[in-house]
């Protein structure tokens, strides 16, 4: 069981390019259809939790599935499976890249790769704004964050801490109002 899970996550980690959103459909297929470790509903709960938790989403969902299948040992196995392919491939690429980074041809390739990467980062902003519930009431949050962090180089950690504190205070105030009405 543990070894089979390790191979599943190793396979997913090794063959998906483009991060968590490329990995999720494969993880879903493997975990629900092939191995039947979780039901559809359990998987979706896990996905929501993985997106709420800090850290890489692919790692978070691996932890959830690993824990549900085989507790702590399952977590260790699933996380190793997800991260080992990255470790090996990147170590090889990084050791080669140091030698070729300053070649003229490599500079030319990156001259085109960089605007392409910028586009790939920008597009999810629009897609997520649609699915992530952005409205005229909260659109100031992403715009403000983009200006503060992107232009004025404010540390994102401060924005996150302020946001969490503000949300907790707001929910407390709402709770007090509700209890007064009762």
């Amino acid at each position: 069981m543990l070894f089979s899970m390790f191979l599943s996550f190793l396979k997913i980690g090794a063959f998906t390019i483009g991060g968590a959103y490329a990995m999720i459909p494969l993880i879903r297929k493997e975990v629900i259809d092939h191995k039947q470790w979780l039901s559809e509903g359990e998987f979706l709960d896990g996905l929501a939790a993985a997106q709420s938790c800090p850290g890489p989403i692919a790692v978070n969902i691996s932890i959830y599935i690993g824990y549900r299948v085989a507790k702590k040992r399952g977590v260790a196995v699933a996380v190793l499976g997800t991260t080992l392919p990255s470790l090996f491939v990147i170590m090889i690429v990084a050791s080669l890249f140091g030698k070729i980074a300053n070649l003229e041809a490599v500079r030319r390739v990156f001259h085109a790769l960089k605007p392409a990467v910028t586009a790939m980062i920008a597009v999810p902003v629009i897609q997520l704004s649609r699915s992530g519930g952005i409205s005229i009431f909260n659109v100031w949050i992403p715009i403000g964050a983009a200006i503060l962090v992107g232009i004025w180089q404010v540390n994102p950690i401060y924005l996150i801490l302020i946001t969490i504190a503000g949300a907790l205070i707001e929910s407390r105030i709402k709770l007090k109002k509700l209890t007064k009405q009762d």
Binding site: G46, A58, M91, R108, L113, K114, A116, M120, G150, P156
Partner: protein, 172 residues
Amino acid sequence: MTYLWMMLTFAKIGLFSFGGGYAILAMIQHEVVINNQWLTSSEFFDVVAISQMTPGPIAINAATFIGYQKGGILGSLVCTLGVILPSLLIMTMITISYLKLRHKPWFQSVFYYLRPLSIGLIAAAAIIAGRDAIVDWFSIIVFAVCFALAWRFRLNPFLMLLVAGVIGFIWG
């Protein structure tokens, strides 16, 4: 620079990144380029491009790559361990208690505000990437074409970067 400091820096990145790979980039950029000055902005986006073209989670790839550049194989290991350490602690706790937590008003309230913030942080990463990447007519055209392809046709990222790389090799 000690390995411990590298691990702690990446643990901080993991702890404060909500919303996955692209939101993490804003955090890595701030720590690695501005706070610690391990890489220049240009070197950082070399790493981002490679992280997107190689298999696995982007944040793990970037952590491994930066770790390798700054401290070889051991550097890779400590940075990768650092970035997943908060996940290991927090996600395990959430897995055990999420079904209870998700109906709590304070929990819902926090994520009602954190989600739009994550989107803003991704936009910030795009702005920072753009300042380094979009420097002449060639790069403006590449950006516009890739943006349209990724948005309208959801072109596979690997394929898109491969084609962009070939075009850069020929005309860049």
